[in-house]
Symmetry: C2
């Protein structure tokens, strides 16, 4: 009864006041590696945050219960007792998904196929806005709202890690596209003749060259750490930074592919800033030098010449901040129903 | 005095009634080949239209006077006696330009360098909205408003002719980008290794391969109509359609380059429709078959698989219709000031 009563409202007002005067959003980030959730202030600051590794041994409902329990522990810790103490729920999830329905089939979460994430969250949090978008779109929304793209109107936010993803802000709004998949820079063609086969079935996609596991496989074929199945792209970048020629060559290979794709995107979208996050973005100059060199060899006209490529500013929290932006700045970051 | 008097208003009301009950827009299309102007109904239908070849022997002011005289003849014929009988003036002009200021330096009009087209039109038509955008953006606005992209939210409109240009509609709005240059698909990279040099200074741009004069030069090097300096891309397409092997090979070369660039754009922007206009789009199946084959070899994921590539519907008038859309449907097609 408290939920609808005046006493409850007064109590909630008290809690809201304690939390800074306005209701927080619940932000959720569902990925193949981890599940994360946070309460986020209207200004974009994370209040409380929890995460767990994404379980690989559960069925569809088991995974949902894991997420639900994570969220409940977060809300308990944050003192949120009822859905209407929240401004809304924003969630980023790996694609593909039916959007804006939020029916998700994340590539890296095999047990969720056509899982109705948005509907389940709506049942769980009745009466407040619940919005689900692709995780890479949440990342660019976060970077634009409160990170490296702040104050700029035209931003590509990339994540270069086990895959290569991205999201677009154009004319100061998030771009969803026909099916909520805009920003898929990982499948821009960078080596049309003789390029490596991509998991999508085509040849020469950026992702087929620049994703971490592809770089590791390429380097191992070239003699680097052969017979070490656990070697990672981080190892490869570290070895390159210390002068290992195959590590240097692998980062040059990734940087060139990124530079070509970014030049194409800059022309097509008239970009101001590209932010790059994800593990590989930590590789530093041995990645960014060949990237910039290739970008500027292609981006010659005046309007793309000054494009800035910067590391993402929000790190692992970009997706959570962007998920909150779907609630707090929906006019710019949410184009669905 | 008539302009502000009640009698004048009554007269104008009479003219408006005769013209369909609402004020038309003046639409202008400034290109390297022709200058065109039309009065356009609020629904997008052209009422009256005039064009002249773009003079190549005049200075900057001479060219402006030619445009001004063309417009005056049109307005006289349409019975428009004063600016406030128009809903506004929309103009498309070849790029590059400073946008939204409308200070234009069209590549194909050497005497206009930093020419203040928007300001001059504002002086000429005081008191009504005057808006200037890139011609390729006007084309996609026209095709989306009243042509091949009607009713679709995510459209790339291309013009393949002496250059290769384009414009984007995403999430049902025209995309301008940081400098009004979004949609420049002509410089998407399609042959990064060993590709031909483009007029922009880079190698492997779509335009360097698929623009008409580049195809003609390529074909002549392969033995087609050598020593005929006036041979055109239309001749090449016609010869190909009749089975000339170099003509067929040239159209295949263009089709493949277009297919790669369109696949990259489809992934990046999550497109539903690509409309292709301009002279080369008349080449038919010897161009579109290799285009579709290459597109589908790269566009494999479900969300891009059903992309439709269609001929533009409005032909030579797309830019004029789109220029009118800057006035009549500004909420979707005008993002400037």
């Amino acid at each position: 009864m408290e939920r609808d009563g005046a006493g409850g409202a007064a109590q909630r007002a008290g809690r809201r006041s304690a939390a800074g005067g306005a209701r927080p959003a619940l932000a959720i980030d569902v990925g193949g590696t981890k599940l994360a959730a946070a309460t986020v202030e209207p200004g974009g600051r994370l209040i409380a945050r929890r995460q767990v590794p994404t379980p690989g041994d559960l069925d569809s409902e088991g995974l949902w219960r894991t997420l639900d329990a994570l969220v409940q522990r977060l809300l308990d810790a944050a003192g949120v007792a009822a859905p209407d103490e929240l401004a809304g729920v924003g969630a980023g999830c790996g694609g593909p998904m039916q959007w804006p329905a939020g029916v998700v089939s994340p590539l890296n979460i095999p047990v969720w196929r056509s899982f109705p994430l948005r509907e389940r969250l709506q049942e769980r949090f009745g009466g407040i806005p619940v919005r689900v978008h692709n995780d890479a779109i949440c990342v660019v929304a976060g970077e634009h709202w409160r990170g490296a793209g702040r104050g700029r109107g035209n931003v590509l936010g990339m994540v270069v890690s086990t895959g290569v993803g991205g999201g677009l802000i154009l004319d100061s709004r998030v771009i969803s596209g026909a099916s909520g998949n805009a920003g898929h820079i990982g499948h821009v063609v960078v080596e049309p003749v003789g390029g490596p086969l991509c998991s999508c079935g085509a040849r020469g996609c950026l992702e087929a060259i620049a994703r971490g596991p592809a770089l590791v496989a390429w380097a191992q074929r070239a003699g680097w750490r052969q017979g070490q199945p656990d070697a990672t792209a981080k190892d490869l970048a570290d070895d390159g930074a210390q002068g290992h020629p195959v590590g240097v060559a692998a980062m040059r290979r990734a940087g060139r592919a990124l530079g070509i794709a970014i030049a194409s995107a800059a022309y097509l979208c008239d970009l101001e800033v590209v932010s790059i996050g994800g593990g590989l973005s930590q590789a530093g100059q041995i990645l960014f030098d060949p990237l910039e060199e290739t970008l500027h060899a292609h981006a010659k006209l005046a309007f793309v010449r000054d494009l800035t490529v910067v590391p993402a500013a929000l790190g692992q929290n970009a997706g959570l901040v962007g998920a909150a932006a779907l609630i707090f700045a929906a006019d710019r970051y949410w184009t669905g129903d």
